[in-house]
């Protein structure tokens, strides 16, 4: 076991190939310490989302190792559901369950996975909805909510499982501009509370404000990583400079 290491997520020499020749990841090493916020940036197709999805095994690595909280993820791992329950995931397109209310979305996995009673799950669900600021929408169905509200319900759904880690896969990319802030605010609060977070995003403002470490990926590799000041103000690699110049122009 790697109890000696402070890292709660450890990725070693990770390769992921889709089909025969699409190499999404080409040897990625990453280590995330407990309570840290890591923001992954990079052009589309650089492998950021794939890396994130490997951390909870929504994608299975072609080779390499993924360790979460001292346990290695692999295909035969019988505990994969237990490990996943400790890792909250927020998706670009929310992926709320449309046949359940906001509260129903949050209650389901608590009952099925955590075995909580209905009353307990609903109480925790309401607390989480309050935390993300939409308790009054508890009994609305996803289709009745705005994008920003849906994403906040999705965050509440993940948080209700009391995860040790939260993964965010471009959580604001599908949102109208006026709704981005409400989601980022929730994420900032979460970061302040000490949640371990890995965030794939194009929101550089969030990265500056919340990240302990920024990782720049391109073509399936980590090109550069470091504290946000260093990456944004003083990037060392040309590719990082080029990317930042393209993204920060406006």
């Amino acid at each position: 076991m790697r109890a000696a290491s402070k890292a709660i997520i450890e990725v070693k020499d990770l390769y992921k190939t889709f089909g025969k020749d699409i190499e999404a990841l080409r040897g990625v090493n990453l280590s995330v310490e407990r309570g840290k916020v890591v923001v992954i940036v990079g052009p589309s197709g650089s492998g950021k989302s794939t890396l994130l999805r490997c951390i909870n095994h929504l994608e299975v690595e072609t080779s390499g190792e993924v360790w979460v909280d001292g346990k290695q993820l692999n295909e035969k791992n019988k505990d994969i559901n237990e490990i996943r329950a400790e890792i909250g995931m927020v998706f670009q397109l929310f992926n709320l369950f449309p046949h359940l209310t906001a509260l129903g979305n949050i209650v389901l996995a608590q009952r099925v996975v955590r075995g909580r009673s209905k009353a307990e799950a609903e109480e925790i669900g309401m607390q989480q909805l309050k935390r993300v600021g939409i308790a009054e929408k508890a009994h609305s169905f996803p289709a009745q909510l705005s994008g920003g509200q849906q994403q906040r319900v999705a965050i509440a759904r993940a948080l209700a499982m009391n995860p040790k880690i939260m993964l965010f896969d471009e959580p604001t990319s599908a949102l109208d501009p006026e709704m981005i802030k409400e989601v980022l605010d929730v994420m900032l609060d979460l970061a302040k509370e000490g949640m371990t977070m890995v965030v794939v995003t194009h929101e550089m403002g969030f990265a500056r404000a919340a990240a302990d470490e920024v990782i720049f990926m391109d073509e399936g590799l980590i090109v550069e990583h470091g504290p946000p000041q260093q990456i944004f103000n003083n990037p060392k690699q040309d590719r990082t400079k080029l990317f930042l110049s393209q993204i920060l122009q406006h």
Partner: protein
């Protein structure tokens, strides 16, 4: 033009059928010879309804299990499901009914140590129809499951739910809702195909009508009554399915 539009929107065909049915019923019930045929044939109605309802219920279960098999990543399960669906769909319904009733059921009964002859034809008919329709329903369920966005399964799994729990609580409730109209249409189709079990001498309305026609030579009366009976049942059911479909559609947003 506006009047034409409005006239086009009215389901004249439905009125025509309803009118024809009412007229037919009136005629059948008030004409001595037709009335006699009706009174005789209607005695088969409970067998027709029973056969359809039981076979449909069993077919739903078979269809759900095999539909899950079709989308399963377990190679044994998925291949069994595929094999079943392809074989059953490639054999005419009538042949299938003969084969299952006179060969498969007898063989399976033999394996279980039961005398094949002891199994009543009514039961064989139900099994045959259920096995035949299970294949169609498996494809309906498969399509329904595959119509649900992949992100739903991913979200459920990312919360730590097992594949089967994700299926049960997240995918199937949405999938079944999507395929309800198709399942309803299959019920109507099955009601009609239940007439095929008359070849097993099961006394459904078709068989009773054949017997009646054969013994009285009132072919016109017997088969008119028979057709009117099927048509009135299928029309009511189709209307129900359409109503259900519209309600689901309205409730979607």
């Amino acid at each position: 033009m506006k009047i034409l539009d409005r006239l086009n929107r009215i389901p004249w065909w439905l009125f025509a059928i309803i009118f024809a049915l009412l007229a037919a019923f009136y005629f059948v019930l008030t004409t001595q010879s037709f009335r006699a045929s009706f009174d005789f044939i209607i005695r088969g109605i409970s067998i027709t309804v029973q056969t359809t309802v039981y076979a449909y219920g069993i077919a739903l279960v078979i269809g759900l299990v095999m539909g899950l098999g079709r989308v399963s990543r377990n190679p044994v399960f998925s291949n069994i499901a595929r094999f079943y669906v392809e074989v059953v769909r490639g054999i005419p319904m009538l042949v299938l009914i003969f084969y299952i009733s006179f060969v498969a059921v007898v063989d399976v009964a033999g394996l279980l140590g039961i005398e094949g002859r002891d199994i009543p034809m009514n039961l064989r008919a139900i099994i045959a129809l259920a096995v035949a329709y299970g294949a169609f329903m498996a494809e309906i369920f498969r399509a329904g499951i595959q119509s649900i966005d992949r992100g739903q399964m991913e979200a459920a799994r990312s919360l730590g739910m097992s594949y089967s729990n994700a299926m049960r609580y997240v995918i199937l409730p949405q999938a079944i809702r999507n395929v309800l109209p198709a399942l309803g249409n299959d019920f109507v189709a099955m009601l009609k195909d239940s007439s095929l079990v008359s070849v097993l001498a099961v006394r459904d309305i078709t068989q009773v009508a054949r017997l009646h026609a054969g013994s009285t030579f009132r072919f016109r009366e017997a088969y008119t009554v028979l057709a009117v009976l099927y048509l009135s049942m299928t029309l009511v059911l189709s209307a129900l399915v359409q109503w259900l479909e519209r309600r689901l559609h309205a409730g979607r947003k």
